[in-house]
């Protein structure tokens, strides 16, 4: 299956192409979402739609890094688009044979695969959606 391959810092991730609506450049400024969890960067206006943007690094509990976040990967979730703020997008690649990820597994991660000799973490669109909802519903 074809996947959109993108990076958070040096780490490579993939999402099924069918689950991605588009990739956009982040807006100059976001509208802050009051009382939202820290991982929520804000909302942006994408051609009349209000899209919630979440920092993938924080969603996956990855350490902070120095590289600027240059792209928003838009998950196609019907009427409620979800934007994932990532370091950069590499392109579209065919990813075969996804195997279980080692160590602690979160629902957001479907598994790992090899691509051009390097590892890529394949994410699960519904899992990501659920992870975002969990951020909001988790007791403070």
């Amino acid at each position: 299956m074809r996947h959109v391959i993108f990076r958070v810092e040096k780490e490579r991730y993939g999402l099924p192409l069918s689950a991605v609506r588009e990739v956009v450049v982040p807006p100059e400024r976001y509208t802050r979402v009051p009382r939202a969890p820290a991982a929520i960067t804000g909302v942006m206006n994408l051609r009349g739609r209000v899209v919630t943007v979440v920092e993938l690094r924080q969603l996956l509990h990855l350490p902070e890094g120095p590289t600027p976040l240059c792209r928003v990967v838009l998950l196609d979730r019907g009427r409620r688009d979800l934007g994932l703020l990532v370091t950069d997008v590499d392109g579209i690649e065919a990813v075969e044979r996804v195997s279980a990820a080692p160590g602690k597994v979160t629902p957001a991660v479907r598994g790992v695969a090899r691509l051009g000799g390097l590892g890529v973490t394949v994410l699960d669109p519904e899992g990501l959606d659920a992870a975002v909802v969990a951020l909001f519903t988790a007791p403070k």
Binding site: V33, P34, N45, R47, V50
Partner: protein, 783 residues
């Protein structure tokens, strides 16, 4: 060639869903009153679903629908067969069918539901006394929508099963064909029998029913059948030696022969034939209508040979007088035709050509032989079959098409964007040099008119009748009533009134919750009702009406009513209102206390679509689409919830305020006023600053603190907005950094996950393109 059914999948899903919803409604209505119309309508729905599912090759759906059809048909014959258990069984079948259709929509294999199917079949046997008929299903496999992008290698018409199962040899139906092996790495496997596939023709198609082999899927069956048909000379001699054939001589039979079929049309035809015959009367006064012996064979691939034979009989009987038919008509109609052979003796003047012509147009029939038992009669011209009529020109009558709701949403978003772009152009025009301005402004004006017109059209296309959501209520009412062992009569009026689709979508859960509220808590137990001299059966009225630009929905029960004192006490206990406020509070407001979290929802929370929905959520949703909720109640008489809703996506007036870098919208409807004051000069009660307002003091809340946004207010005067609170909070003053002015905006409901945040009632996009949240101040203060 296999038909590519995948293009019909969307239509199948939407139409089957409609039929199943209607079936569910009918079932509920049926239990109240079993009218012939309702039963007929149910039959049609089940029948349609069966037909569509079998065309799509969804066997499990087709079978289940077929059993429902059987049972409804039995009820159609005898309505006394209907009882509560049968309705329950049919309802669960309708539910399962719905789940199966949903599974198909999600590209999953529908559940086979074998136990239910067995139950239904047993019921069919019990009611009709015979085993249910076999369900015939087309041998097609629908390309699942989700798989489409990955199935690039498939040839046209090949049905690929690509996603996730590369190389899986054709799962349920058939083996991979030779050409599938060569379609590349995706391993697209063609499923279903294929004429070129030796495996498929060597063994019966897996889904073909006993006795129907060769009728489904296997192409070329007809040709094979024809090849094995014996030539006329090899026909069994018994037919020729039959005693009836002995009177084949001309004139050996009296002319007064009665037609085999005594029905009017064949008699008329026979009469006509005889009239023609009379014109050719021989010198000795006997008619010369010659007798023909016709031998036919119904194709072995014909699924309904009885009907086919009947059609042949009908055709031939219009040519003249049928003097013999073997097998006899009743046998033919029942499909008891050994090897498909039919022998007819016919007196007609149309000749062999006429007989051949009459049968040439009948499919699945082969004329084995036509032979004359008498000398060739004068040939009578055959009337041309169709007169060339003057045809009315093909008129492009107005057509309706179905549009997916996402597309409607897209239209609205795009029109919104067009409006924004137009506004921006106008802004740009203001700073253009004087000379070029008029032309631009004219263009912008024209664009604005067009876009506005388009907006109106899009909005009207989005209008959807409320029945879309109220249609679910009778079933819900029935289930609730049954669970609570109560009798409920639900009367819905005005459901044909239309609302914007986006508002409707939001209202589905709140309406269901209000209905539940009425049945669970509003209506009393039967004994209690009797004691109160009410009818045992409780009544819930859902009345929809239109009042200017609003739609008003009343949900009213004739139950016990609400107790304002109890509600006040409960709110007091939770510290949501003060003793003083409780004392002054009107009943109307006290009823609304039930919408505060914790007052009555604690025991009321119902689980709809996986999340708790209480009265607070109902109120929030109604307000988020720009509507209001009112509650009227009288002890012992009942409660009425009134929803006042805008017709279209709400246009709201906002007061825009700035805090730090952020802009927020406050609904003007809830703004009492604005004032300026120095926060440091305000008096305080404990931690809370107090702003003088009218004759009293209002608690002050700094908006940046409430919202958790960074802001560094400058020392000195600060604007305050005085807002209406709710029953619990009373008026409050909000400290902001700047008042930006009023704006009229289109409110968008919050989508997941934003709807999970308390204190936001919607979002909008300003002319500048900036998204701005609209605040629900009372919720901000309490949550």
């Amino acid at each position: 060639m296999t038909m590519d059914m995948s293009r019909y999948l969307g239509l199948f899903i939407s139409e089957a869903t409609e039929h199943l919803e209607a079936l569910g409604r009918d079932l509920v209505a049926l239990e109240r009153e079993a009218t012939a119309e309702t039963v007929d309508s149910m039959f049609r729905h089940a029948h349609s679903v069966k037909g569509m599912a079998s065309s799509m090759g969804f066997e499990s759906i087709a079978m289940l629908a077929h059993r429902v059809e059987d049972l409804v048909d039995a009820v159609r014959q005898d309505r006394k067969l209907l009882d509560r258990d049968l309705v329950d069984l049919l309802l669960s079948a309708a539910d399962t069918l719905m789940a199966q259709v949903r599974a198909v929509a999600a590209s999953r294999e529908p559940e086979a539901a074998a136990p239910l199917l067995e139950q239904l079949s047993a019921r069919v046997r019990a009611l009709t006394g015979h085993a249910p008929a076999v369900t015939r299903v087309a041998q097609v496999t629908v390309l699942k929508p989700g798989d489409a992008p990955t199935a690039g290698a498939g040839e046209p018409g090949a049905l690929a099963d690509a996603a996730g199962t590369p190389g899986t040899p054709g799962e349920a139906a058939g083996a991979p064909t030779a050409d599938a092996a060569g379609t590349g790495p995706s391993g697209a496997a063609r499923v279903g029998p294929d004429p070129a596939d030796p495996a498929a023709s060597a063994e019966p198609a897996p889904r073909a029913a006993p006795g129907l082999q060769g009728t489904t899927g296997v192409e070329g069956g007809g040709a094979t059948a024809l090849a094995v048909m014996p030539p006329a000379s090899l026909m069994p001699p018994r037919d020729l030696s039959a005693p009836e054939n002995l009177y084949g001589a001309p004139g050996a039979r009296p002319r007064t022969d009665v037609p085999v079929e005594a029905d009017a049309s064949s008699s008329v035809a026979a009469l006509g034939a005889n009239l023609k015959v009379l014109a050719n009367v021989d010198a000795d006064g006997l008619p010369s209508a010659p007798r023909w012996s016709v031998r036919l064979r119904i194709s072995p691939t014909c699924q309904v040979p009885g009907v086919r034979a009947f059609l042949v009989h009908k055709r031939l009987s219009t040519l003249g007088t049928l003097v013999d038919l073997r097998p006899p008509l009743e046998e033919l109609k029942a499909g008891r035709i050994p090897d498909g052979f039919i022998q007819v003796e016919l007196d007609t003047t149309v000749g062999e050509a006429g007989i051949q012509t009459a049968l040439r147009n009948v499919a699945e029939v082969e004329v084995v032989s036509v032979s004359q038992a008498v000398p060739e009669p004068p040939i009578v011209a055959i009337t041309p079959q169709t007169a060339e009529n003057a045809r009315a020109s093909a008129d492009a009558s107005s057509r309706t098409v179905r549009v997916r709701t996402e597309l409607l949403d897209y239209f609205l978003d795009t029109v919104g964007e067009l409006m924004l772009a137009t506004a921006r152009l106008r802004e740009v025009g203001k700073v253009m040099p004087e000379v070029s301005r008029p032309a631009l402004e004219e263009g912008v004006y024209r664009l604005h008119t067009l876009v506005k017109d388009l907006h109106d059209k899009v909005m009207s296309a989005r209008m959807t009748p409320l029945s879309l959501i109220t249609d679910r209520l009778p079933r819900a009412a029935r289930d609730l009533a049954r669970r609570k062992e109560r009798e409920v009569e639900l009367v819905i009026t005005g459901a044909e009134i239309e609302l914007d689709r986006a508002i409707l979508d939001e209202l589905a859960d709140p309406l269901l919750h209000l209905l539940r509220n009425c049945i669970d808590h509003g209506l009393e137990a039967p004994e209690e009702r009797l004691a109160a001299k009410k009818s045992v059966r409780g009544r819930v009225l859902v009345t929809v009406r239109r009042a200017r630009d609003r739609v008003i929905i009343d949900i009213e029960d004739d139950g016990r009513g609400m107790d304002p004192a109890k509600l006040k006490a409960s709110a007091l206990k939770r510290g949501l209102i003060t003793e003083e406020a409780a004392a002054r509070m009107a009943d109307r407001d006290a009823f609304l206390l039930s919408c505060l979290p914790g007052v009555s929802t604690a025991k009321d929370i119902t689980d709809i679509s996986g999340r708790g929905v209480g009265m607070d959520a109902v109120k929030r949703v109604v307000e988020s689409v720009g509507g209001t909720l009112e509650i009227e109640s009288e002890r012992g008489r009942g409660t009425c919830f009134t929803l006042r809703l805008p017709l279209t996506v709400a246009v709201v007036h906002l007061l825009l305020v700035q805090v730090g870098e952020e802009v927020f919208g406050l609904p003007i409807a809830k703004v009492v006023g604005a004032t300026e004051a120095d926060p440091d000069a305000l008096s305080r009660s404990r931690e809370t600053a107090l702003l003088p307002h009218g004759n009293g003091l209002l608690p002050v809340h700094a908006l940046e603190v409430l919202l958790g946004v960074p802001a560094s207010p400058r020392p000195g005067l600060r604007p305050f907005v005085v807002m209406e609170g709710d029953a619990g909070t009373g008026k409050v003053a909000l400290a902001v950094d700047r008042l930006l002015g009023q704006e009229e905006v289109v409110l968008k409901p919050l989508s997941r996950p934003l709807d999970l945040l308390p204190g936001l009632s919607g979002v909008t996009i300003l002319g500048s393109g900036r998204p701005v949240f609209i605040l629900d101040v009372p919720r901000l203060l309490t949550a």
